[in-house]
């Protein structure tokens, strides 16, 4: 039978469920109540166009839990709003980060839904960055109502504060666009006029028209020189002031020299003009830079949700009731209430309540840590199952999370400096070029033919024009970036491709990077006579469905609708109990199941299942290696890369992973500070270091390494700080990345060789006066074209 798929999210519809609703005049099937509710909302609002035009299926819409709805209300408090939004007259402006968006139609859907709310003044959703800009009147509708409207459509919106750097990137990108437009449009105009002049050259043109066309070309080139070429000239000027030479120096030199010569020719009505070459050169360089910058900006935007890790709101507890406040305003001594599933908003000590907390983001330890009165909790960790009342010990900025973020800001400037190779070449090239040009000029002026001295020198400069050289690296890098992007590897720092081919050492974080970062069943032992392994696992899954604990998630794949337990109840910190086939079942620690903990059968098991007081099964859980890791490690070692594990985990599990993967260098039990120093040591020892990690505790050392890589499953902070993000959550991509960088390096080298060879041939000819400026322009264009098309090969690889 054909598997039915959900109309909303296109996921397979489970056999036993039955959700129907009429959309677009036809009865459609849904996989869950969440998807059906979203579809009902869409139809009720008259937004069915979404289904007609969307290009991708929506994300599965899980029904919004009541707790989450309550959490939205915490954004309504005036304190929190003030921290998150700006006033625009009567209205407030806020930026939201939206998760669950899959295509541009989603953006339209959200905009439409919000525009129907009279309190909303303006809303604009960006589908590329998954951000939403909202201006609304908080007096008419609280923020929670608006966020609730978005969640009715199956998306989760949360307030977001863009960092300064991001705003700067956006302004820069707009400036690039404008410069590109000016140089592009002007190039077209000047080229058109140049054709008039070319034809005039062959078929004759009256002097007055020739002069007129030249003057118009001059006029049109002026904005290109004065506006579009500005980044090159200002960068060259900065380099000269610092007594350095970079690639922009020869570019600027060639631009101004050619422009000045053409200006001279126009004013005094003699020689040749090259306005079209000037414009075209600026346009091509700008185009390359624009694409590279845009790719980097997109990579950055996709991963920069830094403030999402910082807890935004907190619930103050006065002993009998809670009141929402901003997490940033918590002071030492305040009492706060933390519900199940919430992020703990401050460092503190538990006053009452029993629960367990997930601190993996901060410590790298994946096992949940049990919390009872008197225990310390960390800001940024997640409270799992119980309700806690916590006395705040330090304000958010002084919390462990705040310290790690501060440490990472400090290390920001520690990034090991790399001299860009093209700059070294530029220095070599410009020095020699200036000497040759000066010698040519003086030789012609004093000994050979003073009248031709200027034009011969010009052809030397034009023929050797650094086009090919200056395009060699950026075009190759841009193409390699685009190619890797397509394979799900986001690169935010273009130096990455420069360093990777020389890579000598890789540091891996363990939890969540080498391993899956979550529990999975490693061993199941069955002691029951009647029930088999599958039924027992399904029974355990049915019980664990009621729990939010990370251990519960390990059982989810074994869930079967047919096996259902009744009267399931949860004992926080111990286990679950229920009734199955009129028999009492208990799942949890040995003591909870009423077994003797010294029984050899249960001594080493993490979870036991008892049916009617008798032991039925035991389960061992562990954090298993990612499937691709063992083979990948072997291949990386074959590339003669040194591998090391750098983990916060102090247990024997770390050593076991190291032996299993044959990695001899193991740093375990490291604090974020120790991680940074371990990497700095390797950098000082002359290694080219790459760091792969996923937690908040890894992010400071990302800046200490030459290249840092984060996985998409990692924390937002680590993705924000890393140079590279692997979107497919597959470490295998590390190999693709290294191979891609090596290929890019090969192409750059070919390009540079070609440019050097071309110059070696053309310079002697130009110096001797055999190359007329026209021929020089053709030679220059051809060598640039060759370089660009060679780089384009990288796109196909």
């Amino acid at each position: 039978m054909l598997q039915q798929r959900c109309f909303h999210c296109h996921e397979p519809v489970p056999a036993a469920v039955d959700f129907h609703y009429d959309v677009l005049g036809q009865s459609q099937v849904f996989c869950c109540a969440g998807c059906q509710a979203v579809a009902e909302t869409i139809v009720a609002q008259g937004l069915t166009d979404y289904y007609k035009f969307r290009s991708k299926a929506a994300a599965k819409a899980n029904a919004v839990p009541e707790e989450l709805k309550a959490q939205l209300h915490s954004y309504d408090s005036a304190d929190v709003l003030q921290d998150l939004s700006q006033s625009v007259g009567d209205a407030q402006r806020i930026e939201l980060s939206v998760s669950g968006m899959s295509c541009a139609a989603c953006a339209w859907l959200i905009e439409r839904q919000l525009q129907q709310n009279p309190a909303v003044q303006r809303v604009s959703v960006n589908s590329g960055t998954a951000r939403c800009e909202l201006i609304w009147y908080p007096q008419q509708a609280p923020l929670s109502q608006i966020l609730g409207a978005v969640s009715q459509l199956g998306y989760q919106a949360s307030p977001f504060v863009a960092d300064q750097e991001e705003q700067h990137f956006q302004q820069e990108l707009n400036a690039y666009l404008k410069r590109l437009a000016v140089s592009g449009i002007m190039t077209m105009q000047v080229m058109m006029l140049a054709f008039g002049l070319y034809f005039g050259e062959f078929s004759g043109i009256e002097a007055q028209y020739e002069g007129y066309l030249r003057w118009v070309s001059l006029l049109l080139t002026l904005p290109v020189m004065a506006y579009s070429a500005l980044p090159f000239s200002s960068s060259a000027w900065r380099a000269l002031k610092a007594r350095e030479l970079n690639m922009d120096v020869p570019i600027t030199l060639a631009l101004y020299y050619t422009f000045a010569a053409s200006l001279y020719a126009t004013v005094f009505d003699t020689g040749e003009v090259y306005f079209e070459s000037v414009c075209m050169f600026v346009f091509l360089l700008q185009l390359g830079k624009f694409f590279e910058f845009r790719a980097r900006k997109q990579a950055r935007d996709a991963t920069s949700n830094l403030l999402k890790v910082m807890p935004v709101s907190a619930t103050l507890w006065d002993g009998s009731q809670g009141s929402p406040t901003s997490a940033r305003r918590l002071k030492s001594g305040d009492h706060i209430l933390v519900k199940a599933g919430e992020i703990i908003p401050a460092d503190g000590v538990v006053q009452s309540g029993i629960s367990s907390a997930d601190e993996s983001m901060l410590t790298g330890e994946y096992k949940a840590v049990a919390k009872q009165p008197g225990d310390a909790v960390l800001a940024g960790s997640i409270n799992h199952d119980g309700i806690l009342v916590v006395q705040v010990r330090s304000a958010l900025t002084e919390s462990r999370l705040g310290q790690i973020i501060a440490l990472q800001q400090q290390t920001l400037h520690q990034k090991p400096a790399l001299l860009e190779k093209t700059d070294r070449i530029a220095r070599f090239f410009v020095q020699r070029l200036l000497i040759i040009a000066t010698l040519t000029f003086s030789a012609w002026y004093f000994w050979i033919d003073p009248d031709r001295a200027f034009w011969v020198t010009l052809s030397v400069l034009v023929a050797t024009c650094p086009c090919a050289l200056s395009l060699a690296t950026p075009t190759a890098i841009t193409c390699a970036l685009a190619q890797l992007n397509r394979q799900g590897i986001l690169i935010k720092n273009q130096q990455v491709l420069d360093v990777l081919p020389q890579l000598s050492k890789i540091f891996f974080d363990k939890t969540g990077t080498l391993t899956q970062g979550r529990f999975s069943l490693s061993e199941v032992r069955v002691y029951h006579n009647a029930l088999g392994k599958t039924e027992l696992l399904a029974l355990m899954a049915a019980l664990e469905q009621q729990s939010e604990h990370p251990i519960a998630r390990a059982f989810a794949p074994y869930y079967q609708q047919a096996v259902a337990a009744e009267q399931v109840s949860l004992t926080v910190g111990a286990g679950l109990s229920g009734v199955y086939q009129q028999q009492q079942v208990r799942l949890g620690s040995a003591a909870f199941c009423g077994l003797v903990p010294t029984d050899p059968r249960v001594a080493d098991a993490q979870v036991c299942l008892s049916i009617a007081g008798e032991l039925a099964a035991t389960v061992q859980l562990s954090d298993q290696l990612r499937a691709e890791v063992p083979a990948l490690m072997q291949r990386l070692q074959a590339l003669r890369l040194k591998l090391a594990i750098l983990t916060g985990d102090a247990s024997a599990a770390a050593a076991a992973v190291a032996t299993q993967l044959h990695i001899s260098e193991l740093w375990q039990g490291c604090s974020p500070e120790q991680k940074v120093s371990a990497i700095s040591q390797a950098v000082k020892a002359g290694e080219k270091v790459l760091m792969v990690g996923d937690g908040i505790n890894d992010s400071p050392c990302f800046h200490a390494a030459h290249v840092s890589v984060a996985l998409d499953s990692g924390t937002e902070l680590s993705k924000n700080q890393a140079d590279v993000v692997l979107l497919h959550n597959n470490l295998q991509q590390l190999e693709t990345l290294i191979a891609g960088a090596r290929r890019a390096k090969r192409v750059v080298r070919q390009n540079l060789w070609w440019a050097a060879l071309y110059n070696l041939v053309i310079i002697p000819l130009a110096v001797c006066g055999f190359v007329s400026p026209y021929v020089a322009v053709i030679g220059m264009s051809c060598s640039s074209l060759l370089v660009v098309s060679n780089s384009l090969r990288l796109l196909k690889a």
Partner: protein
Amino acid sequence: MSIIYVLIPIAILFVLIGIAIFFWAVRSKQFDDLDKEGFSILFNEKAKTPPAGNDASHEAGTSREP
């Protein structure tokens, strides 16, 4: 041929207008999300949104013009 003394300046005028429009488009964030703007023409504009409707139809209208 002396007509080019008139025609070229007119052409330059058009070019300047074009650049001015482009700059305006960049400033009003029309290039921030190219995917969404491409889609906006597909969705029909039912004036079902009295309060924010003016704003919306204005936006969609401008994106259709070129």
